[in-house]
Every structure is written in structure tokens, then in C-alpha cells.
């Protein structure tokens, strides 16, 4: 097989995988259409047709629903996620690194952490209202709670997972402990740290929908919950699918960053 032939073969294989995926997706959409508009098996109240959802999406980009267009709601959610994710990082990253590096910090912090961790972020909502009222702060608080766990755990694992031998080598070359952390351990931990950032962002995004129970006047979660009270499943699906799609975008985006930053790793070569 020549080089050209092989490239063709590879392309063929890729095309096949993609087309199988596309075909099955189209088939699923077709099934969706048939069972709704097509054959009317399912009432639009239970599942609106894809056409209706799509029309609704277009309409949503132009006309206000619940006080804002799609973009407005989107940014309302994004803002909370961004702040909460960032605040969680500012708290969680140093904490996790400290836990990974110092046995003493780990011993003190981890019992507290383990105690608080199993409480779902959503369960904090009532307290968040009491403590922060109904503004942005309460929503940011709940989102922060959800994002801080992966920040801490991944930073911890990133640092603890760096080959112990590297730290030994560094110390035997005359580096004091703190410089070993900064010069050797943290750079090697970066990919895992970014991985933690990615999971944290995912958690934040998942929680913002629930956090919008808290006095939100805009946001995709707010839209979904409101559409529910007026039995508007098409707008509900628009919001849901958008939330899902954006989740994919964030995750894949940070995954790219992760890949780029681990250029020195063998796997990337």
C-alpha cells in the first residue's frame, strides 16, 4: 500500500465513523419527527416536534421570552457560572495544592472537606437565601460550592500524583521544598490542574440551572423552569438543548487547552 493509498484508507475510515454517527443522528431525529408531527403518536404537550422546537429557537433569538432574548438569558447564566467558577478556583486551587504538598494541611483539611462534600450544592439553596438574599451573590455561592470540589480534588491529585522521584531529584540537587513545588511539581501538574478546571466548569454549568431558582429574572434555567409552569415544552426543549450544547462547547474547549499544555508529555507526541 502506498502512502497515498493509505491516506485514502484513513480518510475512508474516518468518513465511515462520521457518517455512521451522522446517519444514526438523522435517524433519531427522523424517529422524533415521525412520532410527533409525522404520525402524531405523541402529543406535542409531551414531546413537541423537532420542527416546532427549531422554529421556537429561531423565534427566541429575535423575540423576548420572559423579558429577554436568547442571548440575554444566555449571558445571564454565563455570568454566574464564570464568577462562581473563578471564585471556586481562587479558593480550591491553592487549597488542593497545599493538601497535595503538605501532609499536615491534608490531615487538617480533608476531614472537614469530606464532611461538607457529600452535601449537594442544591441543598445549600435555602441557606444561601438566608445568608446572601436573592441577588447574584446567592447564585454565585451555590455555583461556587459545586465547583470548588473538583478544583480541590484535582489540584490535590495533580500535585500528589507527580512522580515522587522528581521531588527527590530536585531536593538532592539542592532545591528547597518551596522551590521544588514551584519549579518541578506544579509545571508537571498543569494538565491535571486544567482537567480539574474543566470538571469544575462542568459542575458550575450544571448547577447554575438549579441556582436560577434563586431569584433569577433571566437565565436558561429560569426559562426552562418557567416554561414548565405554562406547559410550553417547546421552549423547555430549546433551553435544555442549548444548555447541553454549551456544556459540550466548554468541555471540549478546555480539553483542547489541556492537550496543548501537556505538549511535553509522551502521549501528545
Amino acid at each position: 500500500m502506498t502512502n497515498v493509498e493509505w491516506r485514502r484508507a484513513r480518510r475512508r475510515r474516518r468518513v465511515r465513523a462520521t457518517s455512521v454517527g451522522a446517519a444514526s443522528t438523522i435517524a433519531l431525529a427522523g424517529l422524533w419527527y415521525l412520532s410527533t408531527d409525522g404520525l402524531g403518536l405523541v402529543s406535542p404537550l409531551f414531546l413537541p416536534s423537532p420542527v416546532a422546537v427549531f422554529e421556537r429557537l429561531i423565534e427566541f433569538t429575535q423575540r423576548d421570552y420572559q423579558g429577554a432574548t436568547l442571548i440575554g438569558h444566555l449571558f445571564a447564566s454565563l455570568r454566574i457560572v464564570a464568577i462562581g467558577w473563578f471564585v471556586a478556583g481562587v479558593i480550591g486551587l491553592p487549597l488542593g495544592v497545599a493538601m497535595g504538598w503538605s501532609r499536615r494541611v491534608r490531615t487538617v483539611v480533608s476531614p472537614v472537606f469530606e464532611l461538607i462534600r457529600p452535601i449537594p450544592p442544591i441543598a445549600w439553596i435555602p441557606l444561601a437565601i438566608l445568608w446572601f438574599g436573592l441577588g447574584t451573590e446567592a447564585r454565585v455561592f451555590v455555583v461556587t460550592i459545586s465547583a470548588v470540589v473538583p478544583w480541590v480534588l484535582n489540584s490535590y491529585e495533580a500535585v500528589a500524583g507527580v512522580d515522587k522521584l522528581l521531588a527527590k531529584a530536585s531536593r538532592s540537587l539542592g532545591a528547597p521544598s518551596r522551590r521544588t513545588l514551584v519549579e518541578v511539581v506544579l509545571p508537571a501538574a498543569v494538565p491535571t490542574l486544567v482537567g480539574g478546571a474543566r470538571i469544575a466548569l462542568g459542575n458550575a454549568w450544571m448547577t447554575v440551572v438549579a441556582a436560577e431558582l434563586l431569584g433569577a429574572t433571566a437565565g436558561l434555567g429560569f426559562v426552562a423552569l418557567n416554561a414548565r409552569s405554562t406547559l410550553d415544552p417547546d421552549i423547555m426543549l430549546v433551553a435544555m438543548l442549548l444548555i447541553g450544547l454549551l456544556g459540550v462547547v466548554f468541555s471540549e474547549g478546555l480539553r483542547l487547552v489541556e492537550k496543548r499544555l501537556s505538549g511535553w508529555k509522551e502521549s501528545a507526541a
Partner: protein
């Protein structure tokens, strides 16, 4: 080999006890600080007077009264049981389906390419966002709540099962083929067992995810369950009940996590030695 250490025995004993006590002290210092801060905030700064916080003692007392004094018709164990049933139903279905899907994804690439696009988009929709649709499809009751749990549990099960299969040493697969096993029996007899530790990690993540999603669902659907205890505390403007609910949720969540770890043990006995020391 017969040489004994020069050190007198008592020294050894001291050496071993002191670090242990030191560690224990350190470990509890974090928790003590937390509780103390809570107590000071609640009772000394009187935040509990404003209904912003309840003191640790009040929460403890509320936890106790809730075990015999019913709230919305159920005692605390009753609510826990209600939550547990929903969680169990959703979890069981998702775990079974998720493992199968994950194994199939890893072993039959064609199957994977067919389902992946749909799976990828759907898995990023938060369980909480499914609640409205779940209610529409199943009515605001047990099934909808179990469904939300299912949605939360499925993705980690699928992903970890897939990852588990993929990370099985390629040479183990080769060895199995060389010894005359077919592809299918290689999957069943070698690959799946070897992938279980990773796959079970998926279940463990699923336990927590499902539990969290359920608490969200109980804030919106139904009138029983631990999530509802919190909601009801909020309605009565009673932080003690809210915190009691949170504590119960946290403790049960942690216990369930331990439980799954414990139950998973027999399946990963073969690598126990490797496991010790894992965080």
C-alpha cells in the same frame, strides 16, 4: 538475619503511638474549628436569633425530634427511606444500562460512532434541567424523580466502563487471543473483569451524582424525601430543620459512597494490594 535492632523496645512503642496521637489531633483540629466557628456565629453573634443560622445544638436537637415527630406525615427515617427508594430505582437501571453501553462502546466502535453524537449532547444537559420534561413524561411522582436520578447516574457509568475497557493492557487482550479465545469470550472472561475497578469508579461517581440530582428533584417534585425536609424547613422559616436536612443528606450520601466501595470489594479483590494507600 538474626541480628536484632539495637534500639530498646519501649522506644519503638513510643515512636508508634505519638505520631498516631499527633495525627489524630491534627485531623480533628479542622473539624473542631469548623464546629466552633459555627457555634460562635450562631450563639455568640446571635445569628440564630435572626433566623439566619441555627446553633449546632439546635440542629442536633432537631435531628433527634425528627426521628419520632413526623414532618409532613413522615419521620426522618421515613423521608430518608423515600429518597432511598427513588435513588435506588434510578441508580439500578442506570448502572446496569450504563455498564452495558460502556462495554459495548469500547468493544464495538461502529456501535459507538452510531450513538456517540446523541449521547454527547444529552449527557451535558444537567439532570436538574431534565426535571420539567421528566414531570411531563412521567407525572410529578416517583418515576420522574427516579428518572432524574437515572439521567445523573448514566453518563459516569458509561464513560468509566468504556475507559475501563480501553485501559485494559493491550497485551492481556493479545494473550487471550493467542490462547484461543474468541473476541467475545475475551471480552467476557478477561476484559470486563479487568476493567471493573475503573467501571466501579463510575458507579461510585454515579452514587453521588444521583443523590445530588435527587435532592434537586425533591425540591421541586413530591412531598417526601430529604430534599423536601429542607424545603419544608425553608417554608417554616426554620434554619434548624434546613440544616438538619442538610446534615442528614450529607451523612447518608457519604455512607452510600462507603457502601458502594464496600460492596465493590469482592469484584476487585485481585488488585487489593494495589489499592492500599489510594486517597
Amino acid at each position: 538475619m538474626t541480628t536484632t535492632t539495637r534500639r530498646p523496645v519501649p522506644a519503638t512503642a513510643r515512636r508508634r503511638t505519638w505520631p498516631a496521637i499527633g495525627t489524630l489531633g491534627l485531623a480533628s483540629s479542622g473539624i473542631v474549628t469548623l464546629v466552633a466557628t459555627w457555634w460562635i456565629a450562631a450563639d455568640v453573634f446571635d445569628l440564630s436569633e435572626n433566623g439566619v443560622l441555627a446553633s449546632p445544638l439546635a440542629v442536633l436537637e432537631r435531628l433527634v425530634t425528627l426521628t419520632y415527630d413526623p414532618l409532613a406525615g413522615l419521620t426522618l427515617p421515613g423521608h430518608a427511606l423515600a429518597s432511598f427508594e427513588r435513588w435506588g430505582a434510578g441508580f439500578a437501571v442506570a448502572a446496569a444500562l450504563g455498564l452495558l453501553l460502556g462495554f459495548a462502546f469500547a468493544w464495538w466502535p461502529g456501535f459507538r460512532s452510531a450513538l456517540l453524537p446523541a449521547f454527547e449532547v444529552l449527557r451535558y444537559i444537567p439532570p436538574f434541567a431534565w426535571i420539567p420534561l421528566a414531570i411531563l413524561w412521567f407525572g410529578p411522582g416517583f418515576t420522574a424523580q427516579a428518572f432524574v436520578v437515572f439521567i445523573a447516574v448514566l453518563p459516569p457509568c458509561v464513560l468509566n466502563a468504556e475507559l475501563g475497557v480501553r485501559s485494559v493492557d493491550d497485551y492481556v487482550v493479545k494473550a487471550s487471543r493467542v490462547l484461543g479465545a474468541s473476541r467475545m469470550s475475551t471480552l467476557v472472561t478477561t476484559v470486563v473483569p479487568a476493567s471493573l475497578p475503573t467501571a466501579l469508579t463510575g458507579l461510585r461517581i454515579g452514587v453521588g451524582n444521583g443523590w445530588m440530582a435527587l435532592m434537586g428533584a425533591e425540591l421541586i417534585v413530591g412531598r417526601s424525601g430529604l430534599g423536601y425536609v429542607i424545603l419544608s424547613g425553608q417554608q417554616s422559616n426554620d434554619p434548624a430543620t434546613v440544616l438538619a436536612g442538610m446534615v442528614a443528606i450529607g451523612v447518608l450520601g457519604a455512607l452510600m459512597d462507603r457502601g458502594v466501595r464496600f460492596m465493590a470489594n469482592p469484584f476487585i479483590r485481585w488488585r487489593k494490594g494495589v489499592e492500599t494507600g489510594a486517597a
